[in-house]
Symmetry: C2
Subunit: 260 residues, 2 copies
């Protein structure tokens, strides 16, 4: 790998530049980029110029720097999640129309849930995750579902890292989390009340692919009013539809929490 | 910029690797990547290893290489088009529910339209553009709208490059294209019949931002059955809604093609 004086590769410097941008920090001056990336201003300036020449970054009229359309295109057109997103989109739209609050599609990436898609209504209950946003696995309903059906090492990694609390209801106790995961495996869903925000409940179910592996979580965020269980049947039916679109053949009756 | 023996920078070699992936070629072996990118296999192999270490590429169980989730995230979370996409999404969903065929959101990138979003029905008329797909500006209804309301140099660039034909109806004659652009500026929409595919009509309208600049085209693709004009009012209303979401204050009555 080509390395500059400090021994750090060009690729890792470029990654540090892209990491400086976030959904709330979309336009940065080269000086800001230098500070946020920890790169010398001359280095940042040179890398920005080359990234702009490839369309991976772009400059505004006032000289600030944005992530470029070409970067989006290169990432998007061969995205490993495009098939999932395309299979899921019609169901997300229908769910969104029926539920009226937030609908999310999340996958595991590292120790977090990465939300690939989110449909929101302007009047919906608060939700802290934007598209391409992340939450720690133990905090979100989607994360707990993904861990429950994921490999054992993912469960151990989540338990070892489950410290952050977003509310007083966020679970961090290891034994409590193990019982919750066992419950998800038994029931096929989870309802969390106030784990991410005191006013919101999250309901999440797994989405399976053609090999019956859980590849994503489908979730809705609704007001924390004790009625969240009512959304489980429609979430499950939607998850089965998405799975069918991915080539799965979902079978078997699911436990219905509304029929005791 | 750090350059290797041939004088080509690391960044442009990395771009060549990402360019090898497309929506129909999402998993590649290192040998295929080497051939498609024109890089020596040792170079490709070394760059792939480093890109994998950053999560920008990922390896499948059988050793093939995919674009990584981290690449998608870095491109998406600060995407310059995220505000547009978020403002547009509810309207795209409603249009899709009403029209039943393909609904698209496109922007200019270079000499092409880049489609940021597409909602499709399984039974919809054929459409050749996937999400993150491109079409030459002169070929697509969206491209013609974006050129009609774009800067004069964009018009000249399109006219100079308007050679590719996808069907016998694709326009390539410069004088004819100039008349079409003038018509779009006068009417505020375009209907194309069979320009991209003989069986499909495209209807496109401009979307304006807070500075009244046209930043995107909203389009639907419907069967080429002579009824395409019926969709103009709903497209225009949707485009105004999206513009309002971007901070625009659309004003003035639009010519209604259904009322002579």
């Amino acid at each position: 790998m080509s390395r500059t004086g400090s021994g750090e590769s060009v690729i890792s410097r470029v990654v540090r530049i892209f990491e400086a941008f976030t959904s709330s920090r979309r336009a940065l001056t080269v000086t800001e980029l230098s500070r946020l990336s920890g790169l010398h201003i001359a280095t940042a300036s040179r890398l920005v110029a080359e990234l702009v020449s490839h369309g991976l970054l772009t400059r505004t009229a006032d000289g600030r720097v944005l992530v470029g359309m070409r970067m989006w295109e290169l990432a998007q057109r061969a995205s490993p999640t495009l098939a999932l997103r395309e299979a899921a989109m019609p169901y997300l739209e229908d769910l969104h129309a029926v539920v009226g609050h937030h609908v999310q599609l999340g996958v595991v990436d590292g120790a977090e849930v990465l939300f690939l898609e989110r449909l929101s209504a302007p009047v919906a209950v608060v939700n802290v995750t934007p598209i391409a946003g992340r939450l720690p696995l133990h905090v979100s309903a989607s994360g707990l579902v993904l861990v429950a059906f994921g490999p054992p090492e993912l469960q151990e990694r989540m338990l070892a890292g489950a410290r952050e609390r977003l509310t007083a209801h966020t679970l961090t106790d290891q034994e409590h989390l193990r019982r919750v995961l066992a419950g998800i495996r038994r029931d096929g869903y989870i309802v969390t009340n106030g784990h991410v925000h005191p006013d919101a409940s999250g309901i999440a179910v797994p989405i399976r692919d053609a090999r019956d592996a859980v590849v994503a979580a489908l979730s809705v965020i609704v007001p924390n009013d004790g009625q969240a269980f009512a959304w489980i049947p429609v979430l499950r039916a939607s998850a089965r539809g998405i799975a069918r679109g991915l080539g799965a053949r979902p079978a078997g009756a699911a436990k219905n929490p509304l029929i005791q």
